[in-house]
Amino acid sequence: MKPRIAFFDFACCEGCQLQVANLGEALLDVLKLVEVVEFREVMSEKWQGPLDIAVVEGSITTKEAVERIEKIRARSRILIAYGSCATIGGVNGMKNRFPLDEIRRTVYGEHAHDFPTIATRPVDQVVKVDYYVHGCPIWPPEFIEVLQSALRGLPRFPPDHAVCVECKLNENVCLYDKGVTCLGPVTRAGCNSWCTNNGNICYGCRGLVSNPNTKGAMDVLARYRVPLELVLNKMAMYNACREQGKTP
């Protein structure tokens, strides 16, 4: 029997499932290896039984979402978190920088009480995650690689060196030399320095490397006279959930 796989989405833009759809005809090759039993955005079919692989997109931001992800985890042999919202909280984490009541009032005014919300959490701060595909959006070749590993039962560790490594190999001019601040020195690689190849800065969407070279990064900031506050604020765009740990 083919492995049963389902795609689920929580608070997110659904751009990562679109990246999967964007694999084009290569997607058909993947689909031949598995049985997709649920994928709400493109399928009406639903499935309540056990799963070999659950592929989860989005952050956990409501009590209902906590219950839902716990149920999905309980019936799934393997859980893959994909996209920044799921792996590190992503842009949804910026909400946590405000008191929740205040941000609810900002957006919904007098109707704020109708919008229950809890602090944004990435999936692994609620349930165990077996594989990660970082990025906003995901880099499609990495998704295929992770899926292959999961199907073969092999471990797969996301790259743990800085985006600068890939950026240098791609022979880009350093953004600091262009006078702008970039998060490449502390951000986890694996995207083939997608944004800097295209002339933009790294926004840190894949999360920080596990052991960032803080001193080296500080030296860079000092050399280019970049205020620390500017960089910390930039890091908070994707990485605001980082310090919360696993307390529910």
Binding site: R40, M43, T106, D114, T117, N198, G199
Partner: protein, 444 residues
């Protein structure tokens, strides 16, 4: 009591739409008592998160409201941001943004036509069974999506959350080899576009007509207005985009949980059908030809035909994209305009306090972004009004008109449910987008 005279429908987690929504319908002895489309997407608080951040980050963050219309949000955001700080983009930048908007509409419409709407019209629950029954159709759909994606990759880095689009222009412009590849990919789409026309011409769309108000950007120029224009209505009313609040009039309905909009009538529709109805004469001749083949004439009062109007716009978008790319191949791009603003660390872009509105025709209708910034360009207030939010009121009005006719025809509750799902899908709702401002209620 006859089953079809009294029933309730409660469709939780409507499938094949972008985002999470429910349909609730109650019919008692043939009378429609309750009918609504509920939004259950988790709110993400974008307007709140943007407060206190620099305007130079607004595009990057608001693009993340929606993966499908990321380029649409990008364009509305940049337009609003530049208006707020008082920056006028170059003619080259504006022309390239037009190209991006054509590609956005093309990509999103193709996704909707093939993956979300076609399964209903072909009588299957999703594209998955089509892989065996209609393999050529599935392969064509994926091939077309991929081609448009590759064009976007070459042009702005990627389609989902474009990389190079920034305040003031582009961090990287496509090189001559990129332009050539883009033109070839786009021209290569023409045979598949013709095959799509044949497919759509062979399908039966449900018949149902309900005239309503149609709202789209309008202009006095000869171009089909997508990136720029005033807000226009089929009633003849017209307002500048800065007056968008007077054209949307958001309000709360006691029996419904979602914020609705209206302008001159009880509800209005935005999107491909509304644009077609208002601006049909300005479409590319090939698009008008496609409309004729499909038997489409303005005004289209059948909401199910929005999908067909989307295809007509695909033809328009494809031909206009080819024209723009070929033009730039001849005249060349000014690469001196490439630059990386970051968060404007070098103060290369003068910034002043102000307020700016962006109004752009994205796949599902007019998208408004409105920012207020202080003298340092720090965002103080944000308001976004999303096409799907504007359509919700009109969808409900359609459902109220449609359900009694289906009941009178003696349709089963299952048939009625399916037809209502098709109706909602025809509007191609983007619930991830709309959830950031709609009042949310979980059904239970």
């Amino acid at each position: 009591m006859n089953d079809t005279r009294s029933f309730s429908l409660n469709v939780e987690y409507l499938t094949r739409v972008e985002g999470h929504g429910n349909i609730v319908v109650n019919v008692r002895t043939g009378m429609l008592e309750e009918c609504r489309l509920e939004i259950v997407e988790a709110p993400r608080f974008f307007e709140g998160m943007l407060k206190g951040r620099t305007i130079f980050e607004a595009q990057h963050i608001t693009s993340r409201i929606c993966g499908i219309c990321a380029c649409g949000h990008t364009l509305a955001s940049l337009q609003a941001a530049e208006a707020a700080i008082g920056l006028t983009p170059s003619p080259q930048t504006l022309r390239l943004r037009e190209l991006l908007l054509h590609l956005e509409n093309l990509d999103s419409h193709l996704l909707h036509i093939y993956l979300l709407a076609a399964p209903d019209l072909l009588g299957v629950p999703s594209f998955a069974p089509l892989i065996t029954s209609h393999e050529a159709v599935v392969r064509r759909a994926l091939r077309m999506k991929k081609a448009v994606n590759e064009v976007c990759d070459r042009f702005v880095g990627r389609h989902v959350h474009p990389i190079t689009t920034v305040i003031g222009g582009f961090t990287r412009l496509p090189r001559p080899a990129d332009l050539e590849a883009m033109a070839n990919l786009l021209e290569g789409l023409r045979p598949d576009m013709n095959a799509t026309l044949d497919l759509l011409a062979s399908l039966d769309f449900p018949t149902f007509e309900r005239p309503t108000e149609y709202v789209a950007l309008v202009s006095d120029g000869a171009t089909y207005p997508l990136l720029q224009g005033d807000i226009g209505s089929s009633t003849g009313a017209r307002l500048p985009k800065t007056e968008y609040r007077r054209a949307t009039n958001e309000f709360i309905v006691p029996h419904s949980t979602a914020k609705h909009t209206k302008w001159n009538g009880p509800s209005y529709a935005v999107g491909a059908r509304a644009r077609f109805n208002l601006n049909h004469a300005k479409l590319h001749p090939a698009a008008r030809q496609a409309a004729e083949t499909l038997g489409l004439k303005p005004p289209i009062h059948n909401p199910f035909l929005n999908t067909a109007a989307q295809f007509v716009e695909c033809v328009h978008g494809l031909e206009e994209s080819i024209r723009i790319v070929r033009e730039f191949q001849v005249q060349g791009l000014d690469y001196g305009e490439e630059f990386t603003p970051g968060v404007n660390e070098q103060n290369r872009i003068p910034v002043h306090a102000g307020s700016g509105v962006g109004a752009v025709e994205v796949p599902r209708g007019i998208l408004y972004h409105h920012y207020e910034v202080d003298e340092r360009g720090i965002i103080r207030r944000v308001n976004c009004i999303i096409p799907t939010g504007q359509n919700l009121n009109n969808i409900e009005q359609d459902m109220r008109a449609l359900v009694p006719t289906l009941v009178a025809e003696g349709r089963t509750p299952e048939e009625i449910q399916h037809r209502l799902e098709m109706l909602v899908r025809a509007y191609d709702p983007c619930i991830s987008c709309s959830a950031h401002f709609l009042k949310v209620q979980c059904v239970g």
